[in-house]
């Protein structure tokens, strides 16, 4: 499948108009959706295409966010802070991968969960560095090309560009030779190994890319909130982003984006009325696992295709019967 360039360009240009149409509050919510889309697209590379479900991804997101906060606090410039925090995030995800890729399937889930709790524990308990539960506050956002990112619109456009780059990177990766071999290691790891592919190395690179996207999302997140605390690293946060991937449809390009929009919108709208967001999260999770295991995007696509086919049949038929069957009466 080739990338549909005009459709992409059109979607990008349309999205650019959001700050002109919507009030600042909704622009900020859109920025959140985009930040978590990057995160979910990154996780989807592991969950959807590598078949490795990580339950500790929020800790990589948090690692990059904390690194930015700490480096800015140490007096570094924005550019250096971001660069070093991405490097820190890559080192972190490399260590994560080396430990957790000794297993696959359920074992991978358990180890990433434990590693995620480890980083959470560090952020929570190492008060001297991380400020414990109080977290770290950031100063003002920087400005790019004379536009201050403290305004909602420029910040939205920045996250939009980053999100598009993330989706594009995922698209290019999955359609490349590497992507094909990654999907191969998901479906038939033994055969891939027998064919001479380095299954471990392929998975390792998938982890790096996934972790890098989580890190980018974490950096945008810390600049968005100008605040980070251990809450962002909890198992709950990891589960939330996993819910985005799975509810949208893991293993599809746009599923995670749809899932992120769904979760953020439901969360923002619902939390205005009820306090019990976690309960709802759990119920949605259980419901999707039981009744819609392949997510919204594949489900809706299937439904749409069926509707289209029905309509096509109606167009070309006489008295509701398909064309051919009027004179082909054989049983």
């Amino acid at each position: 499948m080739r990338t549909n360039v005009p459709a992409w360009a059109a979607a990008f240009i349309l999205a650019c108009f959001i700050p002109l149409i919507l009030p600042a509050y909704y622009v900020n919510i859109s920025s959140q959706v985009l930040i978590f889309s990057i995160f979910a697209v990154g996780l989807n590379i592991l969950v959807g295409y590598a078949g490795l479900v990580s339950l500790g991804h929020a800790s990589l997101f948090g690692l990059a966010a904390y690194a930015v906060g700490l480096l800015l606090g140490a007096g570094l410039g924005h550019f250096q802070a971001i660069l070093f925090s991405l490097i820190a995030c890559l080192i972190g995800v490399a260590l994560f991968a080396v430990i957790s890729l000794r297993a696959q399937g359920i074992g991978f889930m358990m180890i990433t969960l434990a590693l995620g709790q480890l980083l959470w524990g560090l952020a929570y308990r190492w008060v001297a560095i991380t400020g414990g539960d109080n977290g770290i506050r950031l100063g003002l956002r920087p400005s790019i090309l004379g536009f201050s990112l403290d305004d909602p619109a420029p910040f939205f456009l920045l996250t939009l560009v980053m999100c598009f780059l993330a989706v594009l990177a995922c698209d290019v990766t999955i359609k490349s030779h590497f992507g094909a071999s990654l999907i191969g290691t998901r479906d038939q790891p033994r055969r891939m190994s027998a064919l001479g592919y380095q299954v471990w190395l392929i998975r390792f690179f998938a982890c790096l890319l996934s972790g890098l996207l989580a890190g980018i999302a974490g950096i945008l997140f810390v600049y968005y909130n100008r605040f980070i605390n251990p809450e962002a690293l909890t198992l709950g946060s990891s589960a939330e982003v996993l819910l985005m991937v799975i509810s949208g449809g893991s293993g599809t390009l746009l599923g995670p984006v749809v899932g992120a929009a769904l979760v953020i919108i439901v969360k923002t709208v619902v939390s205005g009325y009820v306090e019990r967001w976690n309960l709802l999260l759990g119920v949605i999770f259980v419901f999707i696992m039981l009744f819609m295991p392949d997510g919204l995007v594949p489900g809706v696509t299937r439904l749409a295709r069926r509707v289209l086919e029905l309509r096509k049949r109606n167009l070309f038929s006489v008295n509701g019967q398909p064309h051919g069957s009027t004179y082909d009466q054989r049983p």
Binding site: V53, I106, Q117, L118, R125, W126, I246, L279
Partner: protein, 287 residues
């Protein structure tokens, strides 16, 4: 000297508590091949139910403990029978389902019992300290160690000497073959979930006088059970006993000596074990 002795007693008592919690987790993992992420929630649920029975209904501690263990066991069986059963064979979906259920349980607990920690008084006969060789030991912690030993022996007898135990061992070793021999492995799933849930709930209320009960207890205990199973190996009683004692010691010593990095120290043995022996100390298959 006294400091170290107290620390060691506390470590072994915590180890005993963790054994009661993690042995069910380990058996479920060994038999069904899934980490039951509701295990921490069942622990917390047992603690909350027991605390209510003791504080509000003025029930005897041990009766309340048995009652809450029993009700949590039923909840465990219901989760297996009505939710996990629908996803039979899809392990990853089952794990995510247990994750969702754990969120629901945590939020319902927060709704019912609010966010304030609840303390539970030490039961009547075990208040105060015992003196041996001129050192004082907390009587309740010694009691917890004794309970853990009794449960360990009972479980060992069940696993080694009864027909049910033999069937469970057969299921852990080779579920397919056990099925072919006519063992209803799916019924074992319900039984083991019931047993594991009951033990987790019991651990919750027995631990309450030491740990007290508060929101977030579930996500503090679950990783401990995970680490213990990775250390000891899935489905092995002896493994979870040894793993629990190791983790109990590391947790208490870590908190006393390097409080900032207590969690970090806790997960170190897991990482080392995964590097050297991925199937755990006594496990037969890889985690």
């Amino acid at each position: 000297m006294s400091f170290w002795l107290v620390l060691i007693t506390n470590s072994i008592a915590l180890g005993g508590l963790l054994f009661v919690l993690s042995t069910g987790f380990s058996l479920i993992f060994g038999l069904m091949r899934i980490p039951n992420l509701t295990h921490g929630s069942l622990f917390m649920l047992g603690a909350y139910c027991g605390a209510t029975a003791i504080n509000a209904l003025r029930m005897n501690f041990w009766i309340a403990a048995l009652l809450s263990a029993f009700s949590v066991a039923i909840i465990g069986a219901l989760i297996e029978r009505f939710l996990l059963r629908r996803l039979a064979g899809k392990e990853q979906a089952q794990v995510l389902l247990t994750l969702g259920v754990s969120f629901i349980v945590a939020d319902i607990c927060l709704m019912i019992w609010s966010g304030d920690p609840i303390s539970v008084a030490t039961p009547g006969g075990l208040k105060g300290a015992a003196h041996f060789f001129g050192f004082a030991f907390s009587l309740y912690r010694l009691g917890v160690i004794l309970i853990a030993v009794i449960i360990a022996v009972a479980l060992w007898l069940m696993m080694e000497k009864t027909r049910l135990g033999a069937m469970i061992r057969a299921g852990v070793d080779d579920a397919e073959m056990a099925r072919a021999l006519g063992i209803k492995v799916s019924r074992l799933f319900t039984i083991i979930f019931c047993l594991g849930g009951g033990l987790a709930g019991f651990a919750g209320i027995v631990g309450a006088p030491i740990l007290s009960v508060y929101p977030g207890l579930d996500s503090e205990m679950l990783p401990l059970a995970l680490v213990i199973v990775i250390l000891g190996g899935a489905g092995s009683l002896l493994g979870s006993l040894l793993g629990s004692i190791i983790i109990g010691i590391i947790f208490n010593f870590g908190n006393a000596l390097v409080p900032d990095a207590a969690y970090f120290v806790l997960f170190l043995p897991m990482v080392i074990m995964l590097m050297l022996r991925p199937q755990g100390l006594f496990g037969r298959q890889m985690v």
